[in-house]
Amino acid sequence: MNKFHFLSILVCLALPGLAQQLFSPTLDAPLEGTLQTPEFSSDIPAEIIAKVDPSVVSIQHERAGGTGFIISEDGYILTNGHVVQGDDQEDPSRPARTITVVLHNDLKYPASVIGLSLDPDVALLKINAPMKLRPVEFADSHKVSVGQRSFAVGTPIGLRRTFTSGILSNIERTDLGTETVVFQTDAAINQGNSGGPLFDQQGRVLGINTYGGRGTNNIGFTIPIHVARDMIDDFKEHGRFVRSLIPLFFTSDLYDELARVLDVERGILISYVMKHSSAWEAGLRSGDILVEVDGEPVSAGNRAELLNFEWKHTVRPPGETIRLKVLRGNGEARHEVEIETVLEPLGPLPQFARHRGEIPEYRYAFVGLGVKSQSMLHHVIHALPQGVEGVLVKFVEDNSTASKADIQPFDIITHVAGQPVTSLREFQETFEAELQKRNPAIEVNLVRRKLNIRTAIAPDYLMQHRHVALISASENSEYVDLMRRELLALGAKITVYTEDGHPVSRDLLDRPLYADAALKDLEVENYDVVLFAGGSGARALWENEEALRVVRDTIEAKRHLAAVGTAAMLPVLGSPEPLEEKITTNREDSAIAVSRGANYTGKDVESDKLVHTTTGQERDVVREFLTTIYQATLRTPVR
């Protein structure tokens, strides 16, 4: 149903939340909290401890760690989203890279992230263990009461298998600006408890421990387990949590004063309906009072009731028909209106409040500009002008070409070189066509709030006299689009080759990347740089005669030979003489490289004379690699 919860989002946006100031995910909380054991009248029976202990795991990765718990024998694990989130700016929904799960008995397993959300702060992981695992038992978190005993198990400040206990201090906490109500407990919840379970006295999971009060004592917050369970199927099916709604309207609970002035006892106020949205087209209007959904009376007299109502409909399957009854008008003019419509799936979320966003950015780092698609929610969240078609500026690097053009985040780019760019695809095509022409000043029209601005991007085209042959495997190639895009931004002339000249992998916009020619037609004399893209598909090139011939020719013609990740083995394999130059490659291939006598250094980027290699493990490493290639070309004459 609608994003009822956007009311809370609105409040958060407007007043940079009290909640955000007071509370933070426990992972980020300072260490100063002291562990305090509340008084309790009875011990937790040994059999309960024995029951829950094997189900709780600790989680570690390259950035941080936390706690989780096993929910199935075959290795599904629930934790918080923030425990496993990555820090990829361009793809914020991407999780951390190297997640390890440590079981209670110290066994370690690599884990993959099946789905991840930051609000509700829930993630589903999967490990493949050779034995059956002990899943937790779930409590019914709809049926809880304040004062009920509870205990937490987790890894506070890295201390595995720590048990702390208390009571449920509140069961309908809404002050944190979260999408659902959360439980409050006085069981000690510290940094590292995040993602761990809160159990009831019978050892059944009540919820996922998530937030701690910063600078407070024994104020911890727990996401009710029914919320997490509602999300599991979506994670498994779509890799993300898909909300159902009728976009776009906001709701408010009918608190005492509101009920009085509106002269209504029960219901939910529809405080805003966006014009021409699905909700509007379905017939909803601002000021309507929702009294029935699918024949059932609905009402919310406080925020907790409102959030519970919203959640109930948010997790319905998209596509379901929904019937609403609203009251419209005042006094004698008040009448009932019946509305029937369909729940829509909500697309990827932009960044706001606790959400890091799910919309990938398309970045031209050598211009210093990152853009992304606009959504209806962007308009609402960032107060963007209505009805302006274009792409949203997400990122502008300081002192870059884009910042010199005075482009700013949240500008909407409407035209490039006089052409309207209504979608990211159009932007990409038009902008790259101008880069390809090496237009010294690419005109850009922007809308910034209420202002229309004309400016021009003047790229430096540092590689404008260089011709690069970019070679990709036909399948499973990585960063081809990224390298093509960034080399264009550097002004290089690019010819894309594949083994057979057929299109290669798709880009972020799901556009196939066209190859210009087949590998057999590559004559290295025509190029300054011969660049092999990486990805697991590049392994097929190891034994490809043409690829090895190109490597040999490149070395003999004294051209720059560059290779990424798996392809970084090619200089070793194709060199007519044992390769003297230092190389690097990804970790999996390093042993083979060493066994073939390669001078392997293991650095992110290695550049030795005319041979340049990289592990290619991240976008920014690949960009650093391209910079290295550019700098290396400065040392060789222009053909």
């Binding site: 409040v11 407007a14 608190y255 106020l269 805003y272 601002s286 000043a441 601005i453």
Partner: protein
């Protein structure tokens, strides 16, 4: 206030200058000088003499005793600073080379010759950072003669003269500098080779004794560019009724300006010293002169704009000399053709405001400028400018979350539409008359709208809280 950022050391002046004099003296006495060398030294001596004669009794030596409280920044401590100045009128108007606000509590002494006076700031101009000071002399002072002003060329010598107090027996000190180039702007500056800090505000001459400028930090303001503005500032300081209103105070052109991007200008063959009119407000002088959003301003008062980037904006504002009633003529480019428009700057319209203490808010009417400034999505309403803590408007269901927020636009109050401030006032009257327990407020917040009900039984109804 922080009068001067650099604390000068008056004691070092005699040593510095003595060193220079000694050096010159030694050389002068050197009998082995060739005739041409001797001529060089004679030329220096002559230039110094010309300058000293020309400045006559118009040289001012300011000494400011700063209290700790008058300074900003971390390093607050009382101290004395000195700088130079010139006499502008017989009745005691002096020019000081800093912005000194009238409310300063610093003791400012002005030494003119061997006489010391207590000086008070009368009028300052922030755009050039100068202040007209006033002393009460017993006898008429000798104003500096600004009739024949010259400019400095790059490579030309300049002579800077400063005075002193009894510590160095009221000496005059002379510094030679070389003009290294000219810095463009509405007020040009001659870039000078380094002179001590204390020369700031001192008159700068060429080698012929012609007045050229006033020493600033490491440059000299071109007096020929400043003269007219100084005269105006002096008039204002004297409280002379010139029929013109004071500068900068709410003079209104009525447009949002932004510099053209240099690369855009080059690509489109447009001047790089130009300003876009991004929004021209209806009814403003710019609008009435015929300008519209999207025009590109290239000339003001018959002169092409100069500089580029943010400095062209600064140039435009200085050249506009904003004052209510000041005429302007602007040339802009629209669709590749030049358009000309003339007008007179008017008083910036101030939106009317209303304080609704019953609700705990202050509101203002909405005009086009506020719509742009606050990115409003609704103009048929009243804009909340303040929300009082503890008031009905501030007290929501959750601690710390106000029901209404600054920048909300109220579109209806107690069921009555409030498209104007008057309509809002009427709705407020209704509330005061009927004293309802709760009041419904409809508002626009950013691109979305909302509804809240305010509890009118809470809050401090008798005083303006906060």
């Amino acid at each position: 206030m922080n009068l001067i950022s650099t604390i000068s050391l008056p004691r070092c002046i005699p040593f510095l200058t003595a060193a220079i004099f000694l050096a010159q003296g030694c050389a002068h006495r050197n009998q082995k000088l060739s005739p041409s060398e001797r001529r060089v030294f004679q030329a220096y001596e002559q230039a110094a003499e010309f300058a000293q004669n020309r400045v006559g009794d118009s040289l001012v030596h300011f000494r400011v005793e700063q209290s700790a409280a008058s300074q900003s920044g971390r390093d607050r401590r009382p101290g004395t600073v000195s700088f130079a100045g010139i006499v502008l009128t017989e009745e005691g108007h002096l020019l000081a080379p800093f912005t000194i606000r009238p409310e300063t509590t610093d003791r400012i002494e002005a030494w003119i010759g061997e006489q010391s006076y207590l000086a008070r700031p009368l009028k300052y101009d922030e755009s050039v950072g100068m202040t007209i000071m006033k002393v009460e002399p017993n006898l008429p002072l000798t104003p500096i003669n600004m009739d024949a002003l010259k400019d400095l060329r790059a490579g030309e010598h300049a002579v800077v003269v400063i005075g002193s107090d009894e510590e160095s027996e009221f000496s005059r000190f002379t510094f030679f500098a070389i003009c290294q180039g000219v810095i463009e702007g509405r007020y040009r500056q001659f870039s000078l080779s380094p002179t001590p800090n204390q020369t700031r505000g001192a008159p700068v001459f060429n080698v012929h004794g012609d007045l050229v400028g006033l020493a600033s930090q490491s440059n000299a303001w071109a007096l020929s560019d400043l003269r007219e503005d100084l005269a105006e500032l002096l008039d204002e300081a004297k409280g002379r009724t010139t029929g013109r209103s004071p500068r900068n105070e709410n003079a209104w052109f009525g447009a949002t300006l932004t510099p053209i991007n240099r690369d855009y200008a080059r690509a489109n063959d447009l001047p790089r010293s130009a300003l876009w009119l991004l929004s021209v407000f209806e009814g403003s002088p710019a609008y009435d002169a015929g300008f519209r959003s999207g025009d590109l301003v290239v000339a003001l008062n018959g002169e092409p704009l100069r500089l580029s980037g943010s400095r062209v904006y600064q140039y435009f504002m200085q050249a506009l000399r904003p004052r209510v009633g000041a005429p302007f003529s602007v040339t802009a480019i629209r669709d590749g053709k030049e358009v000309h428009g003339k007008g007179v700057l008017t008083l910036r319209p101030e939106p009317r405001t209303l304080r609704a203490e019953d609700l705990g808010i202050s509101v203002s009417e909405i005009n086009d400028m506020l719509v742009v400034q606050h990115n409003l999505f609704e103009n048929q309403g009243v804009l909340i400018t303040e929300v009082d803590r503890g008031s009905p408007a501030a007290t929501g269901r959750q601690f710390g979350r106000n029901l209404l927020l600054p920048r909300d636009v109220i579109t209806s109050l107690a069921g009555r539409p409030t498209p104007t401030l008057a309509a809002f006032g009427e709705a407020l009257d209704y509330i005061r008359r009927e004293r309802p327990e709760a009041v419904l407020v409809e508002f626009q917040r950013g691109p979305t709208a909302g509804l809240e009900a305010l509890n009118m039984r809470i809050g401090d109804r008798d005083s303006a809280s906060n």
